[in-house]
Amino acid sequence: MNCTRRNFLIGGSTTLFFSGYFPKISFASMQKKNLIIISLRGGMDGLTAVPVIGDKRLKKLRKKLILEDVLNLNSDFGLHPKLEIFHKLWQKNQAAFVHATNIPYTGRSHFDGQNLMETGAHIPYKEKTGWLGRGLLASNIIGKGLAISLPMPLLLRGVPQNNNFFPSPDFVETKLIDQIYNEFKGEHNELIKSTLDTIRQRPLSMQIATDSDDRKKLALEAAKQLKDQSGPRVAVFDLDGFDTHAAQGGVDGAHADELEEVNKIVTILHENLGQAFDNTLILTLTEFGRTIKQNGGYGTEHGYGSAILMAGGLLKKSQVYTDWPGLKKKELFEGRDLNSTIDSRAVYNSAMSVCFNQDPEFLRKEVFWGDELPDLSQDLFKI
């Protein structure tokens, strides 16, 4: 049971309610499943996160970016040492990776790419809603989206009554919110009114001022909300800084710092979701991967194919799921980037079908305009 602002304020009667008879309901049959998306803006380098082992060409092209102390996954792939939690979960069949994958976008522009990774469309800026928002709407799951960012991310748009958590630098008094709410009562301003309703019904813990730059606190709160059986079913995190044109480094460079942030969020979610982690899927999302070859600043340029990092109890098993295209010059996209052999939208569509209890065919039509996206649920997830 979560303490909301309302029942906190009416504390007396709540106590009374708790002390009275509480009907026993079994939740086991209707366990809520959580879907968490972490957006990695700037272009996450799949070959740094999940490096292919023993590829001579890669070693040659990335002399200064080669990782030592790679964590072992299988005979073909390793894992960046900063992604410790994924390695730990891998042992328990709770981490997996899709490799050589991307949205069907090859333009190498951050803005177009990020727009498309969120809308799931083919033409930048054409669609005004996100694939996740449309998936929730099609599944009739309303008011269950939680964004960990200031504006409502495009990814979640398309379904009403989403909440977001990105607290202001200081506390806003309940009294003030209530007073403004009262003034809006007689107004015909449905959007602001319903948003004020959302604000007033937010759990007290979401009202407390914190440092929005502190991703740890944000993740902690998200875990708390997601754990609640009546809380959000979807959460969206936003990370940036993956655009490492310089000093990308290996074990300890700029890209490693960003991966460490991902690791931190997943660690906190894992620790604090408790049992709910078994009914959770965490997936990353990025606009493109990076070039194979290092550039003059020991960084990499915008590329194409990347990887999806996955964690959670709803994964079928630990695996690197890939149709590996190879890294020889002619196997690369335009001779420079890891190719994409799996449309990453197929992964997201399948994940939504699992978490929202929906037919993937139905979602594919409702969310992705019937694009050819194979159902990967059987291969990747527990169904």
């Binding site: 200064k64 522009s109 951050h110 803005f111 177009d112 727009n115 800026y125 054409k126 964004a147 200031l150 504006p151 409502m152 989403n162 909440n163 977001n164 958590f165 990105f166 607290p167 202001s168 630098p169 200081d170 506390f171 806003v172 008094e173 003030l176 919110i177 007073q179 403004i180 003034e183 809006f184 107004e187 301003n189 959007l191 602001i192 948003t195 004020l196 959302t198 604000i199 937010r202 310089a246 000093a247 480094g249 300890d252 460079g253 700029a254 003059g296 600043g297 020991y298 960084g299």
Partner: protein
């Protein structure tokens, strides 16, 4: 006429202004000439700032990255020093001060609202170091002088400005049959051509095809920054014939004969005077000043003024204001956070921006917290003007500005930050009441909501008062 008209088309009335006898004329008379920039501090030129931009990228990319390629800590330290030296952390703060000083004190606040509108129509989104060095001067030197010319002239200036060309990658667009395109095996970058059609002129309503985009990109090839080893991409814009696609081009059914640099002006003329462009931009203007979904009835007189005057922005602006006046009592408009902040600053004479003496920068250390304050507030309320996320600029729709946290940020600003920005002579209850009276019909009702705190002048008391009155339905939305 309701007092909210002063907020609909401007920023409300400051304490030393009184409601005007003829508000429509008051507004319309502000549009014929360009008001001077009032900021008494430094106003650097676009060219100066581009030079700083060059020093910064050259220093970072060509010097530091190479020097410290194996030591990210030393690299970061050296980079921070370079930031200070080149003003990389300072100029955007200064631009925000110039902008907010203008909207607060301008005698032509209606003109300033149009300035904000056009700067956002031809938006420069967050990319590379544009917000740090270029977007501000672009607003001052490209957008502003064109506001008394024609829309077509504005599009010409914007399209060939360094800032827009860099923003939309036209320097990387090579005609595949041009000399350099053939030599280097390069081809077009469609980015700028697509946005010129989609965002700046005709919009997708014109039904252009991918082939139209490609053909327009061909026409635009060659308009690029002059690259050299020292200035890198920060050189002036010129027309490089060796990048230009040869041959005739066809855009939206119109043939443009092979005519080198003259092709661009011709196609812009056709795009900027296209009926669909006129309707698209007129609708956007009405959306900004009247309501989110303006009707044809509201828009038509603006289109008419446009046609009659051959796209004179002065006449177009006057028509928009006339319509805003006409529909003032029966339409509503939700203002995005920055305009709300500007209105509060003008109506309550807040200490925004910081005085120019205190904004002075010595390039020896990081800008201090006071200097960063305005930009920090803008970021915290979710509307950093020169950092739109996408080339389509900041949204003008209520739905994009109403999320739980975005509303809470406004409550936070008004109740926690704003009291610290109230001038020492303005802390009395009487001052608030007179500002309310100056700007709101229902000032008595508003006053009754804060009456409990009438004796209080502490930051806390002021927070209680401003927290409520700045977020009332009639303040968030006129």
């Amino acid at each position: 006429m309701s007092l909210n008209f002063y907020r609909r088309v401007a920023f409300g009335l400051s304490p030393n202004e009184k409601p005007y006898k003829d508000p429509l004329n008051w507004a319309i008379n502000q549009l014929d000439r360009i008001p001077d920039l009032l900021w008494p501090g430094t106003i650097p030129t676009e060219k100066d700032l581009r030079k700083k931009y060059g020093e910064w990228v050259y220093g970072d990319r060509e010097v530091l990255r190479k020097k410290f390629k194996n030591d990210k800590h030393a690299y970061r330290k050296a980079k921070d020093e370079l930031r200070i030296k080149t003003g990389e952390r300072y100029f955007e703060l200064n631009e925000h001060a110039i902008r907010h000083f203008q909207t607060k004190y301008s005698k032509q606040p209606v003109f300033e609202r149009f300035w904000l509108f056009w700067g956002n129509h031809f938006a420069i989104s967050e990319k590379d170091f544009l917000a740090e060095f270029s977007t501000g001067p672009y607003q001052r030197e490209i957008i502003r002088p064109n506001m008394v010319k024609t829309f077509e002239e504005m599009v010409q200036s914007v399209t060939t400005s360094w800032c827009m060309i860099h923003h939309l990658d036209n320097s990387e667009s090579f005609g595949p049959n041009s000399k350099k395109g053939m030599e280097w095996g390069e081809t077009i970058n469609e980015n700028h051509a697509r946005e010129l059609l989609e965002l700046h002129t005709v919009s997708p309503n014109a039904g252009y095809t991918q082939e139209d985009v490609i053909q327009l990109a061909y026409i635009m090839t060659g308009w690029a920054h002059k690259w050299d080893r020292k200035n890198l991409e920060t050189g002036d814009i010129w027309f490089d014939q060796e990048m230009h696609q040869k041959g005739d081009k066809i855009v939206l059914g119109v043939k443009y004969k092979n005519d080198a640099k003259r092709e661009l002006a011709k196609v812009i003329h056709d795009l900027a005077t296209h009926p669909i462009c006129i309707k698209f931009v007129s609708t956007k203007l009405c959306r900004h000043f009247i309501t989110d979904e303006p009707t044809e009835e509201m828009i038509d007189p603006v289109i008419e003024a446009w046609n009659k005057s051959n796209g004179s922005l002065i006449e177009i602006h006057k028509a928009v204001i006339t319509q805003a006046y006409k529909y003032n009592e029966i339409t509503h408009k939700f203002h995005p956070p920055e305009i709300w902040l500007m209105q509060l600053s003008r109506m309550f004479d807040l200490n925004i921006p910081l005085s120019f003496e205190k904004m002075n920068y010595t390039f020896k250390s990081k800008p201090n917290n006071r200097q960063r304050q305005l930009s920090w507030i803008l970021r915290e309320i979710g509307h950093s003007p020169y950092r739109a996320k996408q080339p389509n600029g900041w949204s003008d729709l209520e739905v994009d500005w109403v999320s739980p946290e975005l509303l809470l940020r406004r409550f936070w600003f008004a109740s926690v930050e704003l009291p610290m920005l109230v001038k020492s002579g303005n802390r009395s209850h009487g001052f608030i009441l007179s500002c309310l009276k100056n700007n709101f019909e229902d000032h008595k009702n508003m006053a009754s909501l804060i009456d409990n705190f009438r004796f209080g002048t502490s930051d806390y008391d002021l927070g209680q008062k401003y927290g409520v009155i700045c977020n009332l339905p009639g303040v968030l939305k006129i």
